[in-house]
């Protein structure tokens, strides 16, 4: 079926218009904005350009602390998700028919519930009068302060991010030939060796891809640090919110946001290329 060369462009035209107008243009505007000078008294100075916001972001201790906190929280969440999500996906994949799909859905369905609801749920569980502390009191232990500390943020983020780890690992496991494990066992490998040397290497791309997603999403998370971190525990996203809506220093907020975007893209694209290159050869 031959059609004119322009047909695909006509077909994707409407979407292209929307994306240009609401994605490309705003990003461009924001980039320009991040270079605009700002005066607390008069506001954004449209014609003047400066690098001071970026300098501020990269040199000021306050922001440095926030970037560092964001980084290690995201890293910790990623590690937890790998440690919990990958084995969970493996365990689920070995279950029998009805339970397998049901439990997989139970693990993944929370993805479709708003993050606000989930954050609120955690604040109820981890609060000073919350369920966890009530449980601790019941067994005679002292209540632990979790809400408005890094603990609450990490736990809630792990909860939200876990499905994003389970999905790619599960997908990798599905691609495994089920006979491979049995083949290894028949050749006298122990279950642990089989896991380590046969299953794990083939699941590694899924784990890596999941780690990228989890790290990126955690670093840019807003609602969870906002609701569970409190006013003192800022992460990148909540700081941007402050600059925009409280300080009204849009250029600075823009600079931070764009730094986050670039960092996200760089990590994802370069690591992706690295992983793809290594694994394309061995796995095809």
């Amino acid at each position: 079926m031959s059609a004119s060369k322009a047909t695909p462009w006509w077909l994707s035209g409407p979407a292209l218009v929307l994306f240009t107008a609401l994605l490309l243009v705003p990003l461009l505007l924001t980039t320009v904005l991040s270079f605009n000078a700002y005066d607390p008294a008069t506001g954004v100075k449209a014609g003047e350009f400066t690098l001071e916001h970026y300098a501020h972001v990269f040199t000021d201790d306050y922001y440095y602390g926030i970037f560092w906190r964001t980084f290690w929280i995201s890293g910790l969440v990623t590690l937890i998700c790998v440690a919990v999500g990958a084995p969970e996906a493996y365990i689920l994949s070995r279950m029998g028919k009805p339970w397998r799909s049901i439990l997989l859905l139970v693990v993944l369905a929370p993805l479709l519930v708003s993050v606000v609801v989930r954050a609120f749920g955690w604040s109820m569980l981890l609060g000073p009068e919350g369920l966890v502390n009530s449980g601790l009191k019941l067994v005679g232990l002292r209540p632990v302060r979790m809400l408005y500390t890094e603990v609450a943020v990490v736990v809630a983020l792990a909860h939200v991010m876990l499905p994003f780890m389970v999905i790619p690992v599960w997908t990798s496991l599905q691609k495994l030939d089920p006979g491979v494990e049995n083949a290894a066992l028949s050749l006298r490998a122990s279950p642990f060796t089989t896991l380590r040397r046969i299953v794990l290497p083939q699941v590694l791309p899924g784990i890596l891809s999941g780690s990228l997603i989890v790290f990126g999403l955690s670093a840019s998370a807003f609602a969870i640090p906002g609701l569970l971190g409190g006013r003192r525990l800022k992460m990148v996203a909540t700081v941007v919110y402050d600059e925009y809506l409280h300080e009204l220093n849009w250029p600075l907020g823009a600079a931070i946001a764009l730094t986050l975007l670039v960092a996200n893209l760089v990590v994802m694209l370069s690591y992706n290329r690295l992983v793809e290159g290594r694994y394309k050869k061995s796995l095809g």
């Binding site: 929370p110 609120f120 946001a257």
Partner: protein, 263 residues
């Protein structure tokens, strides 16, 4: 595949409990008769649900969210179906770029999108406009619809279209009588997924909503940062109910497991 040992099953049970805990707590606490966040031990009360329905702000936000989700999901689907056809059926320079562009909202932090759109709205006078908000949400949910539409088109047996042509159908008749009905599960699934994601969205919305267009999740966020009482729990429980309802329909139409994992 060998069976899971008791240790594995215990681990699994803990993970399941972990995943369900906050949702269950929210739904249960919503029924408390007390004034504070406690578990209903003696009786189940609907007072907080009544309070929600008596709270005009929440009602307004609910309708905002609902109409917004309906409109943005529909717009996203109308854009994604032809775009999906273009990407899967034609080879042309720029195809990879378009595919990447249309999926990019998935890897661009919603925070950045919110900030960028705030800037745009300030420039074009879009703040406070429901229409611009629909466009913003459509942008965010289009990738979800596009992915499902593309999956439906890729797994499509083209010979059915050839059969229709050979039997005398015009290109339009072929599309409306054959192609569209055959990809309908993917299209509908995409619409539903878009609806759910728009309804749930908070991070970008918090930047671009205005007092008249506040969506439910944003309203909840603002409320929760100030006071924490069972009213929030009731609202949350209602949100879970709406999402669950949408999920059931999605499962019927497309298969929840297919949507989430892509089998």
């Amino acid at each position: 595949m060998r069976k899971n040992g008791p240790l594995a099953l215990l681990f699994n049970a803990l993970v399941i409990a972990f995943m369900l805990a906050p949702l269950l707590v929210v739904c249960v606490v919503a029924f408390t008769p007390e004034n504070t966040l406690t578990l209903p031990t003696t009786e189940f009360s609907l007072r907080w649900f009544e309070a929600v329905f008596a709270h005009p702000d929440f009602i307004q936000s609910f309708w905002n969210s609902l109409w917004l989700a309906l409109a943005s999901a529909t717009l996203a689907t109308l854009l994604a179906v032809p775009a999906g056809m273009a990407i899967t059926r034609y080879t042309f320079p720029g195809r990879g770029f378009l595919n990447g562009l249309f999926l990019s909202p998935l890897i661009i932090p919603h925070l950045v999108l919110g900030v960028a759109l705030l800037r745009l709205f300030a420039l074009v006078g879009g703040t406070g406009s429901f229409g611009w908000l629909v466009l913003a949400h459509a942008l965010i949910v289009t990738p979800y619809t596009l992915r499902l539409v593309v999956a439906a088109l890729v797994g499509f047996d083209r010979s059915a279209e050839q059969a229709a042509l050979s039997l005398g159908a015009s290109q339009t008749q072929m599309f409306t009588r054959i192609t569209l009905p055959m990809i309908l599960p993917g299209v509908t699934g995409g619409w539903l997924l878009a609806f759910i994601n728009s309804f749930d969205e908070v991070t970008m919305s918090i930047f671009v909503t205005s007092p008249s267009t506040v969506t439910l999740p944003v309203r909840m966020y603002m409320y929760a940062t100030e006071s924490i009482d069972p009213l929030m729990a009731a609202v949350s429980a209602l949100m879970v109910a709406v999402t669950a309802f949408a999920m059931i329909i999605l499962d019927r139409v497309y298969g929840l497991d297919r949507v989430l994992v892509g089998r």
